[in-house]
């Protein structure tokens, strides 16, 4: 009985690792053959590499399969059929849903899904939500603008599949959303970490409501790494008085990883539905050992209309050197997505990940939730400007706070910063994904 209460599918989630790997190999061969036989894009890619589906017999052989990069997905969109290109494995008549990437790193990538794919998307999310304690007794509020971005769409359908009552908080503004959650006594919601903190601030400061009094029992985050950054996670959990869980997914991939209620410090990879490989960022060597950071290459085994096979996601992750007490045999990645290979940048000759700055800033309870980092050139030298807000009541300790902040930043990032204090509430607030890190050197 205990098992039923915490696993969506104990057969897959507790599968012995040897069998799980055998299953992964079979499923990899299946999706590769599917794509080779039906997608002109994949067939060209593999033929140019001299690869036929029957060449894949082992995990070592998988390493020979060419990787797919986002630029290739953008390029293929220029070919017919409009608007997806000849990567499709099905006819346009079979496509039932359009989504697109946010376009933060360039031209948006269009994603085609059949109804079968959409069932699969929501199944991936069902694994996530069930592991995070969502049950049929939950009333789940989903405060995002239901639109062309996939965001929490599949979360909505998965919550329904689990049996939750779903309240779509689409076009309401933040105050109206909070009041609706209060009125309906919602027990859970899903949002980006930025918006989880933003809603708490609006509740407290505009409505005079302590978010902890709203009775929210669990929150699921997506879209940003915050729920895996310990200081940001703590901030959110303290603000709402409940656990905040992370999950990772992407439009082109699917929802591939999740934190469970045991919160071991890492996220389970749904290895029954995805193959995650970690590659050394410089040598391309496969990383199997825990603790070593690398770039993720991912395959979605069961996504059919627009397959995702060995996609170079640019996400930087590392395997955990600990296990989760929940009993799932799915491997853990430590601390979620650490950064993106194209976000980690050299400043003053030192590698800097924006998440490291977030971890430091959010560790100061005297500072507001918002901050901004601007990297630019001052003459020949790199310059980092950090803008922060000091919470009301702490202005008198300003110099002491800033001295500690400088020390912590130096300790965690090996870099010196110019720090500007802005009036509380004056830095930009975001509803979805925040843009707090700006590297102006690329434009200069």
């Amino acid at each position: 009985m205990q098992e039923r209460s915490i696993y969506w599918n104990p057969i897959l989630e507790r599968m012995p690792r040897e069998k799980l790997q055998e299953l992964q190999l079979r499923k990899f061969k299946r999706i590769l053959r599917w794509a080779y036989e039906r997608s002109p894009f994949y067939r060209r890619l593999y033929r140019e590499a001299g690869l036929e589906p029957e060449d894949i017999r082992s995990f070592e052989d998988i390493r020979r399969v060419p990787k797919v990069e986002k630029a290739m997905l953008r390029e293929v969109q220029q070919r017919p059929p409009f608007p997806y290109g000849d990567i499709l494995t099905v006819s346009l008549e079979e496509v039932t849903a359009f989504r697109q990437t946010s376009g933060t790193t360039g031209t948006p990538v269009y994603q085609a899904d059949t109804w079968q794919d959409w069932e699969w998307w929501s199944e991936c999310w069902a694994y996530i939500l069930y592991a995070q304690g969502y049950r049929a007794t939950d009333r789940v509020f989903i405060p995002f603008g239901y639109n062309i971005f996939v965001a929490f769409w599949a979360g909505h359908y998965a919550a329904e599949k689990i049996g939750c009552e779903v309240v779509p908080g689409g076009v309401l503004d933040t105050q109206a959303r909070i009041l609706k959650m209060q009125e309906l006594r919602c027990t859970a919601f899903m949002a980006t970490p930025t918006y989880v903190l933003g809603m708490a601030e609006v509740a407290r400061e505009k409505l005079g409501i302590d978010p902890r009094d709203l009775g929210i029992k669990r929150i699921t985050c997506a879209g940003e790494p915050g729920a895996s950054i310990p200081t940001t996670k703590r901030r959110m959990e303290e603000a709402w008085g409940c656990p905040v869980y992370d999950h990772i997914g992407a439009t082109e991939i699917g929802a591939w990883s999740y934190e469970c209620t045991f919160q071991p410090g890492g996220l389970h990879v749904n290895e029954a539905f995805f193959l995650v490989e970690i590659e050394d960022m410089e040598t391309g060597e496969l990383i199997e050992e825990p603790g070593r950071e690398g770039k993720m290459i991912i395959t979605a085994f069961d996504r059919l209309a627009k397959p995702c096979i060995r996609f170079d996601s640019k996400d930087v992750i590392r395997w955990a050197d600990y296990e989760c007490e929940c009993g799932r045999t799915f491997r853990l990645i430590d601390g979620g997505v650490i950064g993106r290979a194209d976000d980690i940048t050299k400043v003053k000759g030192v590698l800097l990940a924006p998440t490291a700055i977030e971890e430091v800033v959010r560790g100061f309870p005297e500072l507001g939730d918002e901050y901004e980092v601007i990297v630019s050139k001052r003459g020949e030298m790199d310059d980092i400007l950090l803008k922060v807000e000091i919470r009301p009541g702490y202005e008198g300790s300003r110099e002491e706070i800033l001295a500690r902040l400088r020390d912590q930043l130096r300790l965690k990032t090996n870099l010196g910063y110019r720090i500007e204090v802005h009036p509380y509430g004056s830095l930009p607030r975001y509803d979805v994904k925040a843009k707090r890190f700006k590297d102006l050197r690329k434009r200069e």
Partner: protein, 60 residues
């Protein structure tokens, strides 16, 4: 568990067979064809959850 897995696998295959037969009988009735397509999408998810594992057990 193996027996249960086998039994579930048989029932899922039966669901697919019956749904496909219904689709054939429905012919050009869109209300049948489209709703069966949706049922088959759910059957596929059951296959991913159960039949893939059952196949693996059987072959091993």
């Amino acid at each position: 568990m193996e027996e249960r897995l086998k039994e579930m696998g048989e029932r899922i295959r039966e669901l697919r067979r019956v749904a496909e037969e219904l689709k054939d009988i429905g012919g050009d009735i869109e209300a049948v064809r489209r709703n069966v397509e949706r049922i088959l999408a759910s059957v596929r998810i059951l296959e991913l959850n159960i039949c893939d594992v059952e196949d693996l057990e059987r072959d091993v």
